[in-house]
Amino acid sequence: MIAFAEAFPLALVRPEAALTGGLLAILASDLSPGANARRLGPVLGIVSCAVAMWLACAAPVGNVGTMLAIDGVTTLARLLILPLTAFLLLGGMGERRHGNDTGAWSASVVAVGLGALIAAAAANFVALWLGLELVALAGYTLVAFRGGDRRSAEAGMKFVLFGGAVSAVMLFGISHVYGATGHLDFVGIGAAFASGAPVLAGFALLLAGAGIAYKLTLAPFHFFAPDVYQGSPAIAVATVSTLPKIAAAAALVRILMTAVPPSLLAPVTLGGAIAVLAAVSMLLASFTALVQRDAKRIVAFSGIGHGAAVVLAIGCLPSREAAAAAGFYLLTYVGSNAGALLCLSVLERARGSTSLADLAGSWRSQPWVSSLLCLFLLSLAGVPPLAGFLGKWGVLQQALAAGMAPGGSSAMVVAVLLFLLATAVSAWSYLLVVRAVVFAEPAAANERTQRREPVALATRVVLGVSTVATFGFGLWLDGLVALARML
């Protein structure tokens, strides 16, 4: 027993263990013949998230062999992932109250959260790949969850084929990294690079990075997002657009800090190359969003842009503030994004779809939900008193500091300019939704077919928390400094 405790220090991974326990409890309750026990799923999930959160706050720091690294980045990722998973479960409780498949749904959400925790803590490419696969497999089922719905099924099929292909490419890259360096753990790979690894290893590392770029919906791995988001239930989109991004961002930070030498792409600086790639992806997303006619597609393109903003901040590593800026950006993004998608979920049920034509004039019949939707979208656009503004401000500050510093990369300055342009353009696409919701005349036929249903209590709670987060984080002026101290 002592040998096992030394080889596998369970104390370090208590939050993950708690969430695994919750997942197994949900699956067990789902097997029970009583209908009441089956409805326990989300409650069990929320309780296990709360326990994991409590354990994460007091978790020690250290390494689990060469597989997982429990450090500041992991802790920050845990503190983002666990509350978010709980709120997504609560949102699901409100939005899916008539389903008899609550257990399967909550198990999938918890599995996405667990996979995100593992990927965020991974210090080894196999652990990282397994974590991302858990996120992906559970995400596929969430996306296709609306049984019998053509669009949901199509979205699931597209998601699984695209995700599977990217995952296979990533794995192929990982196997070559292993062959060229003899290591699978980030520290060992970093040491191999330091003592002169073959050129093949660098190329293989880029292939392995494809999987992470895909989770962050970075171009050219973004093609799946608009179709998948449009076809799937809004509350599923809220899950697959937030949790994987947190996990992938944490993994990218750890890989860049330990495995990859800054001179990988010499003579180009790695940070500058990453920043320009991110800025191009952002620009692409913001312009394509302008021609979309469906609010969920607009949210998809906005997600591509926000993922790219996180990557821009990560391009400014190795400063601690850069990692904190990425974390703070995610903090501001997930609250507003999940809130907006929850509003869209309520409106989708009432109006049949989230196309701008169907959303037209929803403010008159559902003033509260529509106003909140506009609030969250304005936060995503980066309007000052709201959270999104501070997130963007932090990233901008870091990128400018990295670009202007003596010996800094001029690519970073270009990336900042593209970032500003993309922000201005994407603000316009959010305003298209706001215009449809508030100012457009509702189609007469649409008003007749509308279903009125009171908003569930669980949904109200999550919307309330998102609103508080959207205002609160917008006023947390030293949030970035506080996060940097944690790392």
Binding site: A153, Y178, G182
Partner: protein
């Protein structure tokens, strides 16, 4: 011409490379979702073969990392195939087809 005798690494890498390229080709050329899934499985197995081969011919003779990774790949590939086929079944029930061109409703 690489030396493809069984006790050299080159042959295994060659086979893995051919499998991977065949998988990529299947993904690009197939219109049927199951054909694409087979392509993905070929790519995953190319990676698994490569892990095992690299582990076997590692400089420090018995490096278990590669073999272990290959086992993980086999398990996850099976899970992935199960989820994918379940989703294809859901598509088939509504569209009566799993042709990627025939099952397109989502677009801008």
């Amino acid at each position: 011409m690489p030396d493809i005798s069984p006790d050299r690494l080159d042959g295994y890498l060659l086979v893995a490379g051919i499998l991977f390229v065949a998988g990529v080709f299947a993904i690009i050329s197939r219109r049927n979702a199951i054909g694409v899934l087979i392509g993905i499985e070929l790519m995953l197995n190319a990676a698994a073969l490569q892990f095992a081969a690299y582990g076997r011919f590692a400089p420090s003779a018995a490096d278990p990392q590669g073999q272990t990774a290959a086992v993980f790949v086999v398990v996850v590939a099976a899970a992935e195939a199960a989820v994918a086929l379940a989703l294809f079944f859901a598509v088939y029930r509504t569209f009566r087809d799993v042709d990627l061109e025939a099952t397109r409703e989502l677009r801008s």
